[in-house]
């Protein structure tokens, strides 16, 4: 009897792990992806939608078209995981039995956690939000524009910085830059989570007149007064406010009592097993791992999980471990970008921003549908190389 593998979530990680397992195990496994919408969204594109550089319909495809023919797809919402019984209960009343379970349920936006956020702030972390922001930016003819983060952790850590650089350029081209004040409200004591990247981008922010307020963790928004307040007790006035909404793990993780208070799965940083569960794996945003919540993380984790499950199915000891590998781009405006390549032991040493990395990001966005979900990015591609930086342990 083939091994039954159920993958919850048809995002980048879930799709890739399902395709890799089908390819590796063939008839030895029956792989089923469970996804509530059956649509696969390329979320990194929302940034470009907000700035009028991409259309929403480019960024979504039917999940079925991205899966190998041998992988089953159930367009259903999983509502409860029963680890001891080895089943997943589905919303419409059915259930699926599994020998191995991959939880790739991602993260969700919970703007309601911050009073006034939905009414007073724009965002580009959903397609609707990005389209609304694009409209607002077309109307914006100058004023105080504040960009911030309303909850930690949030996915794609470079995105608020990228948006700030790109909107500065947008307003310049629109001819309203001199009537605008742009400020990044950072939750940390620097512009970006990773210190080396923060040091690299700070001079570019200074050069373009982008202000920085540090230690500003958004607590509340007062839309009628046009004021955003921080947990640290500071207030900032705005004319246009763009905030990354707070994130939370999936409801099925919370309801199954598998997650921490934020709904994130306690996951072993190397084996990617959900702690205490040898046959359950956590993938991508769904985990509590102290690394970026990003498609790139899921992209590099998926082959490790596929390899470990394949070994278990074949009766051998799993060997592959996840080393914390992540690679992402950081747009710095003016048609330039840098890259962040790092793992658990190697912090990134981002190169000076240039046109080549911007072009690489653009190409990657274009190539995504035909490459990443199918595992077609070769191991030696520049996107997948680990950093050649020196170890922090040295």
């Amino acid at each position: 009897m083939p091994a039954r593998v159920v993958v919850l979530g048809g995002g980048v990680g879930g799709t890739l792990v399902a395709n890799l397992l089908d390819k590796e195990l063939g008839r030895d496994a029956r792989v089923t992806v469970v996804d509530p919408t059956g649509m696969h969204d390329y979320q990194p594109g929302y940034l470009y939608v907000a700035l009028g550089e991409a259309k929403g319909h480019w960024l979504s495809r039917e999940e079925r078209t991205l899966l190998r023919p041998g992988v089953d797809l159930a367009i259903e919402r999983a509502v409860r995981i029963h680890p001891d019984a080895g089943t997943v209960q589905l919303e419409r009343g059915g259930s699926l039995e599994w020998d191995y379970l991959v939880v790739a349920t991602g993260s969700r936006l919970v703007p309601e956690q911050i009073p006034g956020l939905s009414e007073g702030a724009f965002e580009f972390y959903s397609l609707d939000g990005a389209e609304r922001l694009a409209q607002e930016l077309r109307r914006f003819d100058g004023g105080r524009l504040k960009v911030g983060v309303a909850g930690i952790p949030y996915k794609c850590p470079p995105a608020p910085v990228e948006f700030t650089f790109m909107v500065e350029e947008y307003l310049r081209h629109k001819g309203v830059r001199d009537k605008s004040e742009i400020e990044l409200l950072s939750p940390l004591n620097r512009a970006f989570t990773i210190e080396s990247a923060s040091k690299l981008i700070q001079p570019y922010m200074d050069e373009r007149g982008i202000g920085l307020t540090t230690f500003f963790n958004v607590e509340a928004v007062d839309p009628s007064a046009g004021v955003v307040e921080s947990l640290e007790g500071e207030k900032q006035e705005y004319d246009l406010l763009v905030l990354v909404p707070p994130h939370k793990g999936a409801q099925v993780v919370i309801d199954s009592e598998l997650g921490d208070p934020g709904g994130w799965l306690p996951t072993d940083k190397h084996t990617l097993n959900v702690e205490g569960h040898e046959r359950i794996f956590g993938l991508g945003d769904a985990t509590n791992l102290p690394i970026s919540k990003s498609g790139s993380t899921a992209h590099f984790e998926a082959p490790v999980i596929a390899s470990r499950i394949a070994s278990l199915v074949n009766g051998s000891a799993p060997k592959e471990n996840y080393g914390g590998r992540v690679m992402c781009f950081l747009e710095t405006g003016n048609g330039q970008a840098t890259s962040l390549r790092f793992d658990y032991d190697h912090p990134p040493e981002p190169p000076k921003p240039n046109r080549a990395w911007h072009t690489a990001k653009w190409l990657f966005n274009r190539m995504y549908w035909e490459t990443v979900p199918q595992g077609r990015i070769p191991e030696n591609a520049p996107f997948s190389k680990p950093p050649a930086a020196k170890s922090t342990k040295e």
Binding site: P187, L188, N189, E195, F215, N217, L231, G233, P261
Partner: protein, 79 residues
């Protein structure tokens, strides 16, 4: 060693910067005034980041104690 009763302890050893600080900020957000939060961090950056944030956010840094390969920070939520 402090005699203050700790309300919540966060073991952030092995977590890279800015993880320990972010975990503390989350705990302050969720906690009640008067709560005493203990953070154990092996990250060097925490030695400057955590006191700087506690000062800015106007909470009370009760104690910073070096331990075996990590530092213990005790913070009281005061507002």
């Amino acid at each position: 060693m402090t005699t203050t009763e700790v309300t919540r302890s966060i073991d952030a050893k092995g977590m890279a910067c800015p993880g320990p600080l972010m975990t503390l900020i989350g705990a302050i957000r969720e906690g009640q005034v008067g709560d005493v939060i203990e953070v154990l961090s092996s990250d060097e950056g925490s030695k400057t980041d955590i006191p700087a944030w506690v000062a800015k956010a106007q909470h009370e840094l009760i104690e910073v104690v070096p331990d075996d390969g990590f530092t213990r920070f005790i913070i009281r939520k005061v507002r």
